[in-house]
């Protein structure tokens, strides 16, 4: 991704927490790299100029947690459609979870995804390999070969690592390759048969609940194993206030634990399920207002390191069924930014600097990925987003194949206007979006 025409992103609010930049100015991209990102840059005759007035220009967003379904369920999503959806959502890079069919648990499988991503020519797709062969929870997968082929982390996401001994070994072994071990924290015997949060709403609806402790027991187990092993444990999709307290406990003691939260867990509560809407069914489930509040505070105070989507597309007819039998998961790549802006920033929980830190700088830094900074010479992965643009979520306009979102019909604020990967524009908001932007500008 080099030798393209330079791009001059003009007149936006340049926001790069990694370099402590927050100024109105220009960003110049040249040969796929950041040339300059401070102050006004004079005329640049051969550059494509993109007007960023009113927008925030930040290092590209990185999603450390998504499901692209290829290989195995290309009818639901492909690496290409997922990468294009990511670009539309402002993500310059995503990390694909290994619960594909076959499971991404060897170097050949890693190589396949990387090749498909190169063909997609949209956002970068990094690969997360499986912790265990076949995600069966029995035998370690070949971390070394997968990392050599390009894997950036390991996880059995979709399934918890039930064996504490296997988790311990994974954390120890992963140290050799300086990669995080990502866990889906769920104690399976407590969660068995559950389809939503256990509490008053599950009691009303007659649905078997998943108690908070199912997550928290594994959170504290993993933190203790990280302390014992010295490995880096990354806790996926945190959903309870108890988990937040446990992570805080671990971080206070210097344990190498990082954690992510999904936009839906900081914006929706279990009440969203009162109509048995399977588009609000996910794992971990939507929790209570107390949990949402704790997670928002944890994003603010740094207990939660990053915001990830857990993008999980499903066919509409798989969701069109009885609640308990419907699959878990919602799509998130194209709504994550707006959900976070609307529910975290606009409500005063965090500022835009923190948002960019959680969606770009921290994922890059903590997972050792390219991007996440405007440092001179770094890859020109840039997200330009309009923080004021309000738009109505219409799943039929998504670039992902998935339509399973609980935000359908909602009006949200904040949208990616332009996404640049390696100096190349991979997404520009379509003209109707531009019209909306124009209308916003003229009205106020």
């Amino acid at each position: 991704m080099s030798s393209q025409r330079p791009i001059l992103l003009r007149g936006g609010r340049v926001l790069d927490p990694s370099r402590n930049i927050d100024d109105v100015g220009d960003v110049l991209v040249s040969d796929g790299r950041i040339e300059s990102a401070s102050g006004r840059i004079g005329s640049h005759d051969d550059a494509e100029i993109i007007d960023c007035d009113g927008c925030i220009v930040s290092p590209g967003f990185i999603d450390v947690h998504c499901h692209l379904r290829e290989p195995g369920r290309e009818d639901v999503e492909t690496i290409a459609t997922g990468a294009r959806a990511a670009a539309a959502g402002g993500f310059t890079a995503v990390c694909a979870m290994p619960n594909t069919d076959p499971v991404t648990d060897n170097q050949a499988a890693v190589g396949f995804i990387i090749r498909q991503a190169q063909r997609a020519d949209a956002s970068r797709v990094h690969v997360i390999g499986a912790i265990s062969v076949g995600q069966m929870g029995e035998r370690l997968a070949e971390f070394g070969e997968m990392v050599a082929a390009g894997a950036v982390a390991v996880s059995d996401d979709g399934k918890p690592v039930v064996s504490a001994q296997l988790m311990r070994t994974a954390l120890e072994y992963a140290r050799s390759f300086s990669i995080p071990v990502i866990d889906h924290c769920e104690e399976p015997t407590l969660a068995l048969g559950g389809s939503m949060n256990e509490g008053i709403v599950s009691a009303r609806l007659g649905l078997k609940g998943i108690p908070s402790e199912a997550e928290e027991i594994m959170v504290i187990r993993d933190i203790l194993l990280a302390r014992r092993s010295g490995g880096h444990v990354h806790l996926a999709h945190m959903s309870t206030h108890g988990s937040v307290e446990l992570i805080r406990w671990g971080k206070d003691r210097g344990i190498n634990v990082t954690a992510e939260v999904c936009p839906h867990h900081v914006s929706l509560t279990e009440e969203r399920i009162l109509s048995y809407d399977t588009n609000a069914k996910m794992n971990p489930p939507l929790r209570t207002a107390k949990d949402v509040e704790a997670l928002r505070n944890a994003v603010k105070d740094g207990t939660i390191d990053m915001i990830a989507t857990d993008h999980a597309p499903h066919h509409y007819d798989e969701k069109e069924r009885e609640f308990a039998d419907a699959p878990n998961g919602i799509v998130g790549l194209e709504t994550a930014l707006a959900v976070a802006v609307t529910n975290l920033v606009k409500r005063g929980h965090i500022d835009f600097r923190t948002l960019v830190e959680k969606m770009s700088c921290a994922p890059a830094r903590l997972f050792g990925l390219p991007g996440g900074t405007f440092a001179h010479g770094s890859p020109a992965d840039v997200t330009v987003f309009d923080p004021q643009l309000s738009w109505r979520v219409d799943p039929s306009e998504f670039l992902t194949k998935g339509r399973n979102t609980p935000y359908a019909g909602m009006t949200l604020e904040g949208r990616a206007i332009c996404t640049i990967v390696g100096g190349k524009v991979v997404h520009r908001l379509a003209s109707d979006g531009a019209n909306a932007r124009q209308s916003r500008a003229s009205s106020g």
């Binding site: 009303r204 609806l205 007659g206 609940g209 109509s275 048995y276 007819d317 069924r321 009885e322 039998d325």
Partner: protein, 319 residues
């Protein structure tokens, strides 16, 4: 035409006390029809009703079928066994097919909570929930209310305790909502492993000892203990359950006053209830069964757009 109950009867949680009272009042004249030699009125003549039972049920299905036939509806019974459901047809496909056949009402029993609402959201026909998973069983709740009202005259202020496996009981949920709306005080009693976490938030009292519940209650609604709960580890054994939580004559004899005994059936005699209680003078269990037909007639009639004052007139149609 929208009935006084709306399009569907999915549960008692979202019915008003006026709507519940309307159903109970409408059931009163229908009771008498079952006493006649010719047990039939033409109130639903020409209507087509499908009884869609995805779960095995004997008494509820028969009760609905009697109610439908006594109102002169044309009925079709579909059970999951031997149906296209076994061939993998989804509930939504079943719904679309039923809709294409231009039926008027569907009575659905399904093992999944929310299945009745799922169907109701997708078809124009009236949907009656005959029990969905662990969620609600509204006609059972209504027949329990009618039975209690028959004996007490008024439900307000009466103390009713629901005993047993509340966690897995759709009857319990319908009872709690219905009783509270009619002004009764409600309690639950059972081992904590069979009570939903946070049940107190329903506004009910919790008794952990059956002896305490008996001291408090005017009526006990005793739930069936499902044997699979033991294999799932919720309780150690049915023997221990009977010794600790069973409704026995000895325990009832220590009550400060007579207690009405209800049970939605089928009963595990000698487990949650002893035979001399089930068949004893304070049991209204068979009265519940009789009332079940009248309640279901009332619900069918009201959902079809029948007006309560016409229920009396409907009685005369067969004479």
């Amino acid at each position: 035409m929208t009935s006084a109950l709306g399009k569907d009867l999915l549960g008692l949680e979202f019915l008003s006390s006026e709507q519940i009272r309307l159903i109970l009042d409408t059931a009163e004249p229908f009771k008498e029809i079952s006493e006649r030699s010719i047990k039939k009125v033409p109130a639903l003549r020409g209507s087509t009703i499908v009884n869609l039972f995805f779960e095995n049920s004997t008494r509820t299905r028969i009760s609905f079928e009697f109610a439908e036939k006594r109102l002169s509806a044309d009925t079709v019974n579909v059970s999951a066994l031997g149906s296209s459901v076994q061939k993998g047809e989804t509930l939504v496909d079943t719904a679309r097919n039923l809709e294409a056949m231009r039926i008027d009402m569907v009575v659905i029993r399904h093992g999944a909570s929310g299945a009745a609402q799922f169907l109701a959201d997708r078809i124009e026909s009236n949907v009656i929930n005959a029990g969905d998973g662990l969620h609600e069983h509204p006609t059972q709740g209504l027949l329990d209310l009618l039975t209690l009202r028959d004996r007490f005259g008024e439900l307000a202020g009466k103390k009713v305790c629901i005993c047993g496996d509340v966690l897995h009981s759709r009857v319990a949920r319908s009872n709690i909502w219905g009783l509270k709306k009619m002004g009764a005080e409600v309690a639950v009693c059972g081992p904590r492993s069979l009570l939903p976490h946070g049940i107190e938030e329903f506004g009910v009292t919790v008794f952990e000892r059956i002896e305490d519940a008996i001291q408090w209650a005017d009526a006990l609604n005793v739930l069936r203990l499902q044997l699979e709960r033991m294999t799932a580890g919720y309780i150690p054994s049915s023997r221990e359950y009977n010794r600790v939580f069973g409704v026995t004559r000895e325990r009832l004899e220590r009550a400060p006053h007579d207690i009405l005994i209800l049970h939605p059936g089928p009963m595990n005699r000698g487990v949650e209830i002893d035979s001399d209680v089930a068949d004893g003078p304070h049991s209204v269990i068979l009265h519940q069964v009789t009332n079940g037909v009248a309640i279901r007639m009332a619900v069918l009639y009201l959902l079809a757009g029948g007006r309560p004052e016409l229920a009396e007139a409907a009685k005369g149609g067969a004479r």
